[in-house]
């Protein structure tokens, strides 16, 4: 089950403070990067919900994010809905699509689940690419940001938009925590640990997976809507499987099944991308090497490694004479926590 440890609270406070500091001190470029980090953080949070707590490794979250972006774009630009209504309708739509995908894929596991989600994602990508009304390869432009002038808030301003993204990330995080501590959320963790036993206890496993996937899809949809509002443009490339793959890399880099870890992963990934790409166009090589190092270390991502070190430190402080012989890996501890 998911638990907030003091270290997780401290990291969350640190991340939040860092984001607020950056929002109030950063220049235009810094604010754009901040928004990019926050949007990616929402996407990886959605992925961590199903992958880290339900064992459902998805390669269609890029497509779900794209569905949110396109849904919002079409409703706000062509259906004539106000951005606020378009957001709500688009999220319901993406949640429904997520539910359907989750329900259909519920009986498959492991590599077959990954392949099934990949197929759904690529179907969505191909459809948006080819079908009329989606703008083809050119995508859709002129996507509006919500009008909050009544509250004296101008979302056209980079700083305000970054804070708007931060508020969305906080809401998404709260929703995920609330869900994981709910009956369905706890059942999802039960399914990940032992699907056979959950069935034997009378649980309809496919429904749990479908609901979890729906909520995860909805959160990925939030990321998509923010992405569309951020660039005021959406193209089919955000639905490509490589976007889902990149999100998975970020989740693993940060720490699968920790919620906090993937947010850390998003910060590291985006900062590395911008810093290293200024030096070389082969920035993926650096991220790849880092990912290999993290995986080979046996830790559950960067945050998992920090948690392991912190736990070891606490144990040594409690019993200084007993040096730990073999510490469990961070991943093992995380699974225990989950």
């Amino acid at each position: 089950m998911f638990r907030h440890t003091p270290l997780r609270y401290a990291t969350l406070i640190l991340l939040f403070s860092g984001a607020v500091f950056q929002a109030f001190t950063g220049d235009y470029y810094g604010l754009e990067i901040l928004s990019e980090i926050l949007i990616l953080a929402i996407l990886v949070l959605a992925l961590d919900l199903v992958a880290g707590f339900g064992g459902m490794i998805s390669l269609c979250h890029g497509a779900l994010m794209g569905a949110g972006a396109y849904g919002f774009a079409l409703l706000a630009t062509q259906a004539g809905l106000s951005p606020a209504v378009a957001i709500i309708v688009a999220l319901i739509l993406v949640g429904f699509i997520g539910c359907i995908i989750g329900a259909i894929c519920a009986r498959s596991h492991g590599i077959y689940f990954i392949m099934a989600t990949l197929a759904f994602g690529q179907m969505g990508y191909s459809y948006v690419f080819d079908a009329p009304g989606f703008g083809g390869d050119d995508g859709l432009t002129g996507i509006p940001r919500p009008d909050m002038s009544a509250l004296n808030i101008d979302l056209g301003d980079s700083q305000t938009f970054a804070l708007y993204c931060l508020a969305a990330l906080c809401a998404a995080y709260g929703l995920v925590v609330l869900f994981l501590n709910s009956g369905v959320g706890r059942s999802l963790v039960g399914v990940m640990h032992n699907e056979v036993r959950m069935r034997a206890l009378g649980s309809e496993v496919w429904k749990i997976k479908a609901i979890a996937f729906g909520i995860s899809g909805m959160i990925a949809g939030v990321a998509g809507i923010l992405l569309a509002q951020h660039s005021m443009y959406v193209s089919p490339s955000i639905m490509n499987w490589t976007v889902s793959g990149e999100a998975l890399v970020v989740v693993i880099l940060g720490g699968l099944g920790t919620l906090v870890g993937p947010i850390v992963g998003a910060v590291v990934f985006v900062v590395l991308k911008h810093q290293v790409s200024a030096l070389t166009s082969y920035w993926h090589l650096v991220v790849g090497c880092l990912l290999i190092a993290v995986v080979m270390s046996g830790s559950n991502g960067i945050f998992g490694w920090v948690e392991t070190q912190w736990t070891r430190h606490l144990k040594q402080r409690q019993s200084p004479r007993l040096a730990p012989r073999s510490e469990p890996t961070s991943h093992q501890e995380t699974v225990k926590d989950a």
Binding site: F179, G183, S187, G190, H193, R199, A200, L201, G202, S203
Partner: protein
């Protein structure tokens, strides 16, 4: 309470269960005996809904459940424990029992409420933990407790759904003599209105707990009667109980 009518199951040319007819009354405690490969676990899988019979029907509380899934049968009051521990290893014992209790009480369907904090769930957790003697281990993770405690939890999980029929596949499998005695006491302390169907190799436990005994051999029922009759049966001594009197 639980009735099978001529159920059969084959895997290719191998007949694993042949025309098995059983009738368990409410509160009855029946032990199933049989040598390895007799089809005992397959029979449990048929009863629980993991496998579908090729022929025959299964009735639970008067309703035909032959075509129902595992989860649907569980909701109707059929629960089982496994020969090999089938637990939620990364979770605490309290969370394990809480999951089962929340499914039974319907709290597992909530999208916002924490089921483990619900009084009805906590009550079931406390009661079951007390029944299987793991109250002092509630906050330990399953990975961190002994094998015997896991066996107790295995039964506890099945009990936490408040079943009317409980299938127990070798509950004392792999435990020592002391723990086996504790299991005897635990089984005897279970509510008398709970119908029990137990696969067991421990003869002492079988004779101690059973109201009736069914013996399977090559998938067929070869004996169905009282424990005293089973003790005197030459057929049973031949196929299964040969070493029992000397044990």
């Amino acid at each position: 309470m639980l009735e099978t009518t001529g159920i059969s199951k084959s895997f290719g040319p191998i007949h694993v269960t042949r025309n098995v007819t059983l009738k368990l009354e409410k509160g009855e405690r029946r032990v199933i005996l049989g040598p390895n490969g007799a089809g005992k676990t397959t029979l449990f899988n048929l009863l629980a809904g993991v496998l579908r019979p090729d022929q025959g029907a299964i009735h639970l509380c008067g309703s035909d459940v032959t075509s129902l899934s595992v989860a649907q049968r569980a909701k109707r009051g059929l629960s089982r424990s496994y020969q090999k521990n089938t637990l939620f290893d990364g979770l605490s014992i309290r969370e394990n029992l809480g999951l089962a209790a929340s499914i039974h009480t319907g709290n597992a369907k909530s999208l916002w409420r924490d089921p483990l904090g619900r009084p009805e769930v906590r009550q079931i957790v406390e009661e079951v933990a007390n029944l299987v003697n793991i109250t002092d281990q509630l906050d330990n993770t399953v990975n961190a407790v002994s094998y015997g405690t896991r066996r107790q939890l295995e039964v506890g999980l099945a009990l936490a759904t408040r079943p009317s029929v409980l299938l127990m596949d070798e509950p004392t499998s792999g435990v020592g003599p002391e723990m086996s005695k504790a299991f005897h006491r635990m089984l005897n302390d279970l509510p008398r209105d709970l119908t029990l169907l137990i696969i067991e190799h421990d003869m002492d436990l079988a004779m101690d707990v059973a109201d009736t005994i069914t013996v399977l051999n090559y998938g067929e029922v070869v004996f169905d009667g009282l424990p005293e009759a089973a003790q005197g049966s030459e057929l049973l001594k031949e196929i299964y109980l040969g070493n029992w009197e000397n044990a």
